[in-house]
Subunit: 338 residues, 2 copies
Amino acid sequence: MPKNQQIILDNRPTAEAVVSNFKLVSSETPALKDGQVLVRHHYLSLDPYMRGRMNDSKSYAQPQPLGEVMIGGTVGEVVESKSAKFAVGDKVVGMGGWQEYSVVDDNQMGMLRKVDTTHVPLSHYLGAVGMPGVTAWYGLVKIIEPKAGETIVVSAATGAVGSAYGALAKARGCRVVGIAGGPDKCKYAVDELGFDACVDYKLHKDAASLSKALKEACPNGIDGYFENVGGMVLDAVLLRMNAFGRIAVCGMIAGYDGQPLPLTYPALILVNRLKIQGFIVSEHMEVWPEALKELGTLVATGKLRPRESVAQGIAAAPEAFLGLLKGKNFGKQLVKLV
Amino acid sequence: MPKNQQIILDNRPTAEAVVSNFKLVSSETPALKDGQVLVRHHYLSLDPYMRGRMNDSKSYAQPQPLGEVMIGGTVGEVVESKSAKFAVGDKVVGMGGWQEYSVVDDNQMGMLRKVDTTHVPLSHYLGAVGMPGVTAWYGLVKIIEPKAGETIVVSAATGAVGSAYGALAKARGCRVVGIAGGPDKCKYAVDELGFDACVDYKLHKDAASLSKALKEACPNGIDGYFENVGGMVLDAVLLRMNAFGRIAVCGMIAGYDGQPLPLTYPALILVNRLKIQGFIVSEHMEVWPEALKELGTLVATGKLRPRESVAQGIAAAPEAFLGLLKGKNFGKQLVKLV
């Protein structure tokens, strides 16, 4: 029985999440029953949605229970199998949580999926060719429905969702403008991710100033926006939306801690006949095969080269996660566990 | 040549609109050219959208020019005709503006439409069987897309849009809950307009309190909301929206004067995967025939009995309009001109 290091949620944040909300514990992996496999995790995915789960409030999902292993996506390798569906050595993606190993029943539909690492590195199944990629795909294709020539904006542009969104929008003939924090990320968005322009929100201290910068980057206004951030950035974008613009709302990191951030000019929804729509990608499993196919092709052909921020070892997960919430990561935030 | 009394926009509001923004003037109606008709207005419609036009700011429509007759819908009778399309005595609906007479070219598509007053009183073509009715229809049918059994809410429930919305939603098997100001309006909504319940927002001084009252009136939550007001009411409704709820945004009266009113909890858009969509009914002329047919039938069969607030004489229009913005009207606000 290998020893399994785990991170549990020890207590809930009162305002900003802190390292002491988490606790590192250790256990033996249990003996497998029939139909079960033991997966050794190679990478753990850290994602903004986890912050919402840490609160004990009404949301679209159950709160993360105290004293249990934090929820999280993982990729890894089957190291022991009592299932006819999985063989030792299979590469798999699943929801193994913040721990080094997980035991999975093979009859839990969709909990574990074999993946092919011939053309796509294993870690990318947690990012561009995983949940974040499909999130970008759904928001762009199903909510924003872009036409060639339209101007399409995304916040957190160099993150896992943003970079996939950029590649998907470029493939549809759009002008793609990112919003990111700092000159390095903005340069990366343009030079490596193929964005047409990228605005550094850290240079602006209010929505009016950021909105002016967006006007320069989007001379024809904004037709579609993928909301990852909320707060000042959303206010600034709203001021530049064209008539009949569409906004897909997927994350509002800026509002997870403490007080909610208001939307300053809701009247613009009417003035510009906007559609604003929230979604959770796990509720739209029917699109995953189509989305993953396109995303896998973009990665395999080099049109989407997602960047990763990799923390080392399960004990580093809490600090890496808090950094993600503050935008300290540069690309998809992972924790390497082997 | 009959004398034509007119109300022009004399100066723009600096904050709240006031009577002195308007000016009553008088002119002779001009001699008709070929293809023109002279319409004597029986009723002028007063509508919240006019407040937006009074500002000189970017909006979906051009601002009302200073010194010109205020824009507005009218119904009336053709009193002189040099057009083969209209005869003296025809009852017509058009956009004649705040004046007693208008001259209309018969080749201005859609500017003048003959109506049948056999089963529908002429004035209702400015309300339930006119622009406000179609507004309710579009928001309900095309944006909210209600299913039987869902709970559907509307603010300004006894107004022209709200009362039509209520009848249309009842016809679709929904639970229909209104929000209105004062016990008389709430009683009327339930007793006369067929709402299942109506919440008096004036009994509540903040969104949290109003939201509690909505919880009682909507024990199964809110699936669709038609936004006529904005501000505190929108905040309160958002707190009660069910997952996958839809909000049609048509008016935000509360924000027309002075400072914009923020939306306090935009994160709920994500949490409850809401769709919020703004629209202007004049951009969807393709639905008018279908909508007017249903609305006309509801009125003719007594299932929609819209109430009217009627001011007397063109000089009374400014004060009646300002009252409308404050919710002083009870039902569709009209000005009777004959």
